[in-house]
Assembly symmetry: C3
Homo-oligomer: 209 residues x 3
């Protein structure tokens, strides 16, 4: 209840909720890579737009932070959290862009393990949208958030490692392996960025508690 | 002597000592990769156990931090330090697991430069076990710790660069190069994580002094 | 004007200006890779010297920070900023060293996109030298610094992605692709480090304002 007397705090929390929703939207578009005959170019272009929306959200938050005397969370923490949320969309946009740029659309399908990476990202985005509104109260239930984040990040690591095993199995020519690995690396980085978000939230909690 | 009146502080420092010991244990298992005819699967499985022990240590530390009113170091710093120690074992476990998963056991031997990377990690782990008990006093002798850490990290960088030169020499097929590089990258990341530990300790020292 | 009564502050700001100048010198040497028939070994050796000069600068700053009671910026921030400046030269030195070590001098020329990465680094270094002296006042004009940093980092990302497309086009043999990618990765990391510098400056500004 310590923040209840500062009504404008809601603007800050609303930003983080909007960013989470925007990430879910981005991951939803990325997941279309698993459809039959996806339009790789369109997916990439739509993700550039989503990333752009996020840049504008972040910009508005920073202006608000700079023009507000008392902020509900430490300025540096809000700054950090916004940066990590931004990283998620950067990596997702990069993954989709590389699929298109490298002409991986010529493959019969993306490797199953890569689609599994995207499934984990979808679950992480859902979790983020579910827990972000609870950031305001920062109560003990947040513990569930980072336990679950950690579990999903382990799932993501496993999918990534299985992708590498597949890529190095000799099924693809060397250059195709390199291209696919580049994409898998971006998806893995997006997965790690979700965990970084959880780590920032956890460190805020540790400080405030 | 500033902490001498808070007897429970020792629990915090004991955690960091235990984590250092655990890391030395992990690096010792990793070093068996340089033996004649090592059991790659067993090494990987034993390292999963060591990493799991570390996760439990970290979990106990975080609970302790959350339930203690006055902590001997800044909460965020303890949190950071535990995270960096955790990173070391993550990378070591990953390296051993990839050697096994990629079937690199089929090579007559791992490249000599990779064994040199592991030798550096062994020296870094010894250094950590030696200096961690001095964290409590945080006196000027810690300066030796980070000077030495820096020196070992340079040794590690050199071993890694020589590994890359060897891998790109044309001695191995392209896919084998990629697999070996993946392993070398994890060893290099473990080496860098040791230096991150040293950086956190140094920044604590800068703040406290 | 808040620091005007502490004359020795200038020593701290002088360090950051010297570090920026040193980085510009390093990037200037790196840019010689784009000349006709460059001496790859000499370029690499000269960059080792520049990096060494920077290590000494950093060492002097840390001693100063440790022996000064009131510092003009938060100790941890100065520590961070020096570390990020150091990262830039580490990556630049590594890039030039890998070009030499891998014998990439045998290629008719480095890929055009790689020279474009170096052009972006040159612009980033100029920007750093221009804005570093304004760190002392930390006034609103710093906003231009990070807006411009962000723009250049996007240019760098684009050059890097175009390099990857070229490398994976089938023009080079697989091992050459791997070597060139290693170099491009270091250049990209240098470009990202410039943005990290800007992020640290921005977070200092957010805290102080």
């Amino acid at each position: 209840m310590r923040f209840s007397l500062k009504p404008q705090d809601d603007t800050f929390y609303a930003f983080f909720n909007d960013a989470a929703e925007n990430i879910r939207r981005g991951v939803g578009i990325l997941a279309e890579l698993g459809d039959d005959a996806p339009d790789f170019q369109k997916i990439s272009e739509r993700l550039v737009d989503v990333e752009h929306d996020n840049d504008q959200l972040t910009h508005r938050l920073f202006n608000k932070v700079n023009s507000t005397f008392v902020t509900p969370m430490d300025r540096t923490d809000m700054y950090h959290l916004a940066g990590k949320l931004d990283d998620i969309l950067d990596h997702i946009e990069a993954a989709a862009n590389l699929v298109y740029l490298y002409g991986l659309s010529d493959l019969p399908a993306l490797p199953r393990e890569m689609i599994e990476q995207i499934t984990v990202l979808t679950q992480q985005a859902e979790l983020l949208v579910e827990f972000m509104p609870k950031l305001k109260g920062l109560n003990a239930s947040m513990q569930d958030f980072w336990v679950e984040c950690n579990r999903l990040e382990n799932d993501g690591d496993r999918a990534y490692r299985m992708l590498l095993v597949r890529l190095y199995s000799g099924e693809y020519p060397a250059l195709t392996v390199m291209k696919l690995k580049e994409v898998g690396d971006e998806l893995e980085a997006a997965c790690d960025s979700f965990e970084s978000v959880s780590n920032v939230v956890e460190s805020v909690y540790v400080k405030e508690s």
